[in-house]
């Protein structure tokens, strides 16, 4: 109940938007997720309560983009900066969604939400004030890469919401960067609607500083013949959850997901994915990697749902995990729920350590153990990083990760 009080005391009831009111109402009966449910069973309770401990902050501190823009051709946006976006070029247009469009879409989404399954979104939308919701409508092709930043301020709980409509036949590369600050909590919810024949290469890079927390939720709806490619990377968070929900609303769409989470110290990072095929001929290729060191805990739960209508679905899901310390833990649970009979579905999971034979081989060639481990790790990371659009060269993610590990 505390969290609801917190939101309400921050604002008088009249100042709450309609969406905030609906979400608060949904949270009213049970403000916290059910710790016994599959989605929250493994989540660290004290870390979650630590997430909620910070006071709600609607105004951002001054934010400097951490990396210089070295390509003139990139569009950079920061959620929470109150600016008007209207870019209309020959080949493409990027415009802010009107208030009505935004409200209508979010309300429609909320109507499907349940307290337990969409708790992170409900929390986000009940916290997000008007300024912290960014809605974009993207149209056209040959669009320069887009980078969207979302960040938290120290000692506070920030909520940011992003809604993106990709119009028909649109093709875009988009990188979302979520940055945590020391002692901060960031709640980020993203809603993607891919219309027919559109395609996006979506990157999500989230990293924090000491004791920063993140609840990152991603909801994607794919219409016919759309292609959604997601490369994601989460590291350096005391507590982070990445919840992905993808619906192929009429099938005939392609989804590729390559995600990775890296945990150290006593961090806990988890990824939950739910992919639903609501039409025939859907395609999914998913790989999720985890690396857990020290006393940390990495969790992956992925479910693939193939109802009767989704004939000829081709879905595969792979969870690969590296456990590097005696005190670290990895939980993984890839799931298949299938009713259609003419489908090809498979999943796999492995948990292991660095390959000893490979390490031995490299050492016989004069490479030190540390170097050899780094080489192995870099090949492990590379598969995911090379899938993240825009960033791969400029962000030096590989260096950052190897340096951290």
């Amino acid at each position: 109940m505390e969290i609801i009080e917190k939101i309400k005391t921050n604002k008088s009831n009249d100042n709450l938007t309609e969406i905030q009111k609906i979400c608060l109402h949904k949270l009213q009966s049970s403000p916290l997720p059910n710790p016994k449910s599959e989605l929250w069973r493994l989540s660290n309770k004290s870390k979650l309560s630590n997430f909620l401990d910070y006071s709600v902050n609607e105004k951002d501190s001054k934010f400097d983009i951490p990396y210089p823009k070295n390509s003139q051709n990139t569009i950079r946006l920061i959620i929470g900066e109150n600016c008007q976006i209207k870019l209309i070029k020959k080949n493409y247009s990027i415009q802010q969604l009107s208030e009505d469009e935004l409200q209508k879409y979010i309300k429609e989404q909320i109507s499907f939400f349940t307290q337990n399954e969409n708790w992170s979104d409900l929390l986000n939308l009940s916290l997000s004030c008007k300024n912290n919701i960014l809605g974009l409508k993207i149209n056209g092709s040959k669009i320069p890469p887009i980078e969207i930043f979302s960040h938290a301020s120290s000692n506070s709980l920030n909520a940011k919401t992003l809604v993106i409509f990709l119009e028909k036949n649109c093709d875009v590369e988009l990188l979302q960067v979520n940055l945590g600050k020391e002692n901060s909590s960031l709640s980020q919810s993203t809603f993607f609607c891919l219309k027919e024949n559109s395609s996006v290469n979506h990157g999500v890079v989230s990293y924090g500083e000491n004791r920063s927390n993140l609840l990152n939720s991603l909801n994607v709806i794919q219409q016919k013949n759309s292609a959604y490619n997601l490369g994601s990377l989460h590291f350096k968070f005391n507590y982070a959850r990445f919840e992905i929900s993808i619906k192929q609303s009429a099938g005939n769409a392609k989804t590729n997901i390559k995600g990775m989470q890296i945990t150290k110290n006593d961090e806990q990072i988890s990824t939950y994915t739910k992919i639903e095929f609501n039409g025939p001929n859907g395609f999914l290729d998913q790989i999720n990697k985890s690396l857990a060191d020290d006393k940390s805990h990495a969790i992956f739960e992925g479910s693939i749902i193939v109802p009767k209508i989704a004939q000829r679905t081709d879905a595969s899901q792979l969870s690969r995990n590296l456990l590097l310390s005696n005190l670290a833990q990895i939980d993984t649970k890839p799931q298949l729920e299938i009713i259609a009979d003419d489908v090809k579905c498979k999943h796999g999971a492995t948990i292991s350590q660095l390959n000893e034979e490979e390490l031995f081989y490299m050492r016989t060639r004069g490479i030190t153990l540390t170097e050899a481990s780094k080489l192995q790790l870099s090949s492990y990371f590379q598969e995911i990083i090379s899938f993240i659009p825009v960033s791969k060269d400029r962000w030096d993610l590989l260096d950052k990760l190897l340096h951290e590990n």
Binding site: L323, L324, P334, Q335, I338, I339, D341, V343, K344, T350
Partner: protein, 480 residues
Amino acid sequence: MVNENLVKDVVKEPYKYGFVTDIETEKIEKGLNEDIIKLISQKKEEPKFLLDFRLKAFKKWQKMKEPDWASLGYKKIDYQDIIYYSAPKQKEKISSLDEVDPKLLETFDKLGIPLTEQKKLTNVAVDAVFDSVSIATTFREELAEHGVIFCSISEAVKNHADLIEKYLGTVVPASDNYFAALNSAVFSDGSFVYIPKGVNCPMDLSSYFRINSGDSGQFERTLIIAEESSSVSYLEGCTAPMFDTNTLHAAVVELIALDDASIKYSTVQNWYAGDEEGIGGIFNFVTKRGKCLGKRSKISWSQVETGSAITWKYPSCLLLGEESVGEFYSVALTNNLQQADTGTKMIHIGPKTKSTIVSKGISAGKSKNSYRGLVKMGTKATGSRNYSQCDSMLIGDQASANTFPYIKSQQPNSDIEHEASTCRISEDQLFYLQSRGIEFEEAVSMMVSGFCRDVFNQLPMEFAAEADKLLALKLEGSVG
């Protein structure tokens, strides 16, 4: 698409064990309370420690909630509407099989279970359990020569109370889960096996469970102890008559393997599954667990699950001893409105432990077939390995196949591999077989049999033949 309909026809096969034996039975009144438990205990002339065990379990059960995580849809069970003890009336003590009611023998004859002397051609010793009590155990003298104890658990309570007191409830404690607690409170009979040190059991042991009355539940308990360097192969079969009410079967099986011992436990479960509309059938809620206590011990579960309206069963292995091995081979076939939620738990605790899981699920009709398994590597399980493979086959577009593997590792120096796939009977393969002159029905049967081959290879010979026949029967039908 023609083929699809044919396949659907093929999987319809009436249940042939659905007859009821008209025999006078002794039943106690419906309901469950402390007095009923005391009455069961008194009827079985049990020592005090067992009555205490039951009452303690009952207290725990009262505080527990029926689990709902398996998302099995069934109407709420009224635990006060069940008879917890039902036994065929017979003479007090049976010294030979001649004294067993011929109707009972006839029943087991019909089921193809060799109880009578002339039928003991196969080298299998049988313990037959009818409703709540064990009615006969064969080959006892021969087994006794080797020091093997094979009897009903009620007899064991009387004659080997020390072993029962030492081991009962050590693998599956009464508080383990709702159905295990219920079983611990009201279990009526079951089998007890003790293999002494260094003995390889000279023949396969088998128990056959038969539910006969429609309103009584069956709550049997099996305890198998294999001492150092011993080995045993145990087979279990189950059938029940057709009733339009649901009957509850909540069993507990505990296996204990000490140093270098090996236990192979095979099940062919063919309880009545209910009719096409899902009316009737057995609710099969079973807790089976083996403890590899000793070094290099091995426990292997193999099961063929074709019956029951609802199956909720996870034969598990606790791998404590160094280099101990756990295995699980399973075929689960569901049809019509059957629901099966089955799998295994491999808990690696000791170092260099190994486990293998091979699970094959076949769902037809409107049935629901789920694999749910847990593989856990504890902090001390260095150098341990697990390999899991779960394949599902769907027949028709209304059946569902789910896979829920839970994998947890706390030991970096261990390897876990899991793979799962889902497919259907391939039209190309069917066409190929048919073009070679093999009839459609036989082709389907061959392909299903081939799909399950990895598991059938693990079954003891008699069972493998029975299982193959059982699946073929279930797939035999009105075609051509």
